[in-house]
Symmetry: C2
């Protein structure tokens, strides 16, 4: 269940941060890397470009659990499930000159794919007081209910 | 095997970032949160204070795999294994007035514990060109050898 107010707050916090840290699961442990964020309004999904020949492509194929962390004026943690999207129209829609320069190819390169992260929960901390606000965007239908998903918003110290 | 030069580079990059994002594994997926970093020289271990009544304490007790990400002028990803340390002398050594204010207690509070993250590999990206440098600090003796651990330092684009 999405609270509109929380979604808007997250959208504003995320918008400020050009580069997110995407954490994936490997056989050896958790790894992260900076990823240029899309200049599209956050609606629950996060989008990144990558190539098939990267570790993260393999890692997501193997384990969909990811975290996207934004460190800027505030801090945001998005827990989600990632999937690889190869849709040409979507790649064209999200492509920009910046990617052409960085990736040195074109959106219609079959090696270029999108990582779509479907946010399942998000938390943010405002800088200064380190107060934690939790915004639960989606609740997974697993039947399991961790205690942390009971509330819709909690406030606690970051310790 | 630690290359002294890489360790020093990491030490310098980490020193600049006051707050790291610590990612842990939960039953539902990967979560992260900002953590105040210790003002001690990085020697392969990272230290954080927390309390026993937190989610991260439970998560680390359940699964030791963590990632520590630093986003500042550069980006650093540390893959490691976390453990809870309750040693009173160590808590005293690392405690500071800042923690007293934030955590509203004292280092000898039995609820106050240390999270020690033993770095197993680290990667960093310099801002601007997004060139990736990999510094492998430790190699886990699992018998498994992922292709990414073969080299001691690789350079590739972040895509």
């Amino acid at each position: 269940m999405i609270k509109q107010e929380e979604m808007e707050t997250l959208r504003e916090l995320i918008k400020e941060v050009d580069t997110a840290m995407l954490t994936t699961v490997t056989e050896e442990g958790l790894v992260s890397r900076p990823m240029k964020t899309q200049e599209v309004e956050f609606d629950g999904d996060l989008w990144f470009f990558t190539k098939k020949e990267t570790n993260k492509y393999e890692e997501i194929k193997h384990d969909q659990d990811v975290n996207v962390a934004y460190a800027g004026k505030s801090y945001v943690s998005v827990r989600g499930r990632a999937e690889i999207v190869e849709d040409l129209d979507k790649k064209k829609e999200l492509w920009s000159k910046a990617y052409e320069t960085i990736m040195q190819t074109s959106y219609d390169d079959p090696n270029v794919v999108l990582i779509k992260v479907k946010a399942e929960s998000a938390e943010y901390w405002e800088t200064g007081n380190f107060t934690k606000k939790i915004a639960f965007l989606y609740k997974r239908m697993t039947g399991q209910s961790a205690k942390s998903t009971d509330g819709n918003e909690t406030v606690e110290l970051n310790h």
